[in-house]
């Protein structure tokens, strides 16, 4: 292999700043970040992209994306995205949210943005935990899963059940595309990138609301090694949150 090709393979996407990020080693967020950067490059939309940084471990997205960004209040990214896109439909809007952000405090915003089929793309990071605040129960925490606020494991009688976002949104007419993926192995990463690319392409075609849910490892707050955490995603988490396409209006015809 020539050094030329080697350089190319390892180059940082133009859409990402060349600086270290603060995600823990092995964290799913970091993998999704590079996927987004690669796709913004590949689709040639950096010049009109606006990234939305949520409240959560990905709050500093605006430090990593090398394109226009706005930081949103906790859970309100879908409303901010709606305002941006309605104000200027030429913008390419990437909304990015964690599971506490999207499925707890921001439940109303995501449901109604999806229901109106707002033409932006949502990347939804489901790591079954509140990462940034130190590992409290998320709406997606599995039954029996221990967290800082469910020290004896999540009990459905007092804490309710894990919220399945793709399934929930799939009950609405509005969404154009809903898929759940993971980023546990390199092969999973390829599939996740394909899904996010589809969501982005649909936005460019003006199709309406897309959401890609990514089952994402949080080794730090799960108290696991990186290897154990990717195994847990595949073997345990995916039981409650089955991978696959829930809605793809582009494939229906």
């Amino acid at each position: 292999m020539s050094t030329e090709t080697m350089k190319k393979v390892y180059s940082i996407p133009e859409s990402l700043r060349n600086r270290p990020h603060h995600y823990c080693p092995g964290c799913g967020h970091g993998i999704v970040l590079s996927i987004v950067g690669e796709l913004v490059d590949e689709l040639g939309v950096r010049d009109r992209a606006v990234g939305i940084a949520p409240v959560g471990c990905s709050v500093f997205l605006y430090e990593y994306y090398d394109f226009d960004c706005v930081q949103a209040a906790h859970g309100r990214a879908p409303a901010v995205a709606t305002g941006l896109k309605r104000a200027n439909p030429d913008l390419f809007v990437i909304s990015y949210q964690g599971d506490g952000d999207l499925a707890a405090i921001g439940t109303a915003e995501i449901i109604h943005a999806a229901n109106r089929s707002e033409n932006f793309s949502t990347i939804f990071i489901n790591n079954a935990i509140y990462g940034m605040t130190g590992g409290q129960m998320a709406p997606t925490t599995l039954l029996g899963q221990k967290s800082q606020t469910t020290p004896y494991g999540r009990n459905p009688n007092t804490d309710g059940f894990p919220v399945r976002v793709c399934e929930l949104l799939n009950s609405l007419e509005g969404p154009y595309y809903l898929e759940r993926v993971c980023v546990a192995t390199p092969q999973d990463r390829v599939k996740a990138k394909k899904a996010i690319k589809k969501a982005f392409t649909y936005q460019l075609e003006g199709k309406g609301f897309s959401l890609v849910e990514v089952l994402s490892q949080c080794p730090t707050n799960w108290g696991m090694s990186v290897l154990d955490s990717v195994k847990w995603v595949k073997e345990v988490m995916a039981q409650t949150f089955p991978l696959g396409v829930f809605r793809d209006k582009g494939q229906q015809k």
């Binding site: 309100r76 901010v80 305002g83 896109k85």
Partner: protein, 354 residues
Amino acid sequence: MGKKILMKGNEALGEGAMRAGMRHYFGYPITPQSEVAAYLSKHLPKRGGVFLQAESEISAINMVYGAASAGRRVMTSSSSPGISLKMEGLSYLVGSELPCLIGNVMRGGPGLGNIAPAQADYFQAVKGGGHGDYHIIVLAPTTCQEMFDFAVMALNLADKYRNPVMILSDGALGQMMEPVVIPDEVPIEEYDKSWALTGAKDRPPNVVNSLFLDEKELEEHNIKLQEKFKRIEENEILYSEYRTEDAEYLFVAFGLVSRIVHSVVDLARAEGIKAGLLVPKMLWPFPKDRIAELAEQCRFLMSVEMNSGQMVEDVRLAVNGRRPVYFYGRMGGGVPAQRRVLEELKSHIEGGTK
């Protein structure tokens, strides 16, 4: 010359905003501001704009945040309980230095209160309301015409200072009908919007943000904001006066109440009592210097409000102990009656502030 139309205050607010280039409105239904949304839902689409009924006031204010980030003139409106829900978003808007217009057509509180006119959100509007150290510019119209004119002024001021501006009205002003002169053209001031999110084409990326984890950086950001608020205080005072030249007793009243007190001044004068009135049309910044000046010539001042006594605190701060400052108010939708205000004035005169 324009034309004269009979319209409700709430409609005038919407029309004024549209004339000033507002093309994006996000709101959630609530009485007594419903006419704003009804009017805009009818007229905005015809003028190439966007009307969106959001799922909540929280969503609406965050849609405003998004559209303002994109550099557009944008508006939301609500009434007291809904404005409470917008407070988090308002704090973010100030923190991120985004311009927008917020209409509060106040009703009685606390809690669900009622739908009658009130001025009980004065503190919330002028002292901050949401978290953090901040101010928004607050305009207080007294007529349907001012609902129109102030909407134009508000959008200009918002862009000028990159700060939200609130129009603080009430259920009576919002729903009464009066003739409004709509000029052919309104003054639209253009300010630099190179900070807006338009896509990083041929320029470094723009970021709209209120997060500064580093303490030094956040303090610097706060200092910058406070300097801006100081600039606003120095440049943007707005009030009117009535029969103050020789006034010995000065009323201070805003919004709807100022119209009632205007008549009280005439009633008092007819009885030989030298009353005068100062009407703050901007509540923040507050016309404190002028009030202090007038206090010198007066025996006492009296604030009349539709609340338990809120603006009176700012009047007292302005007067700074040099004269007595009295208060008369009604709450929960009660509107001060002229006779009653006059009696109140006389009782203080007789009470012996010679």
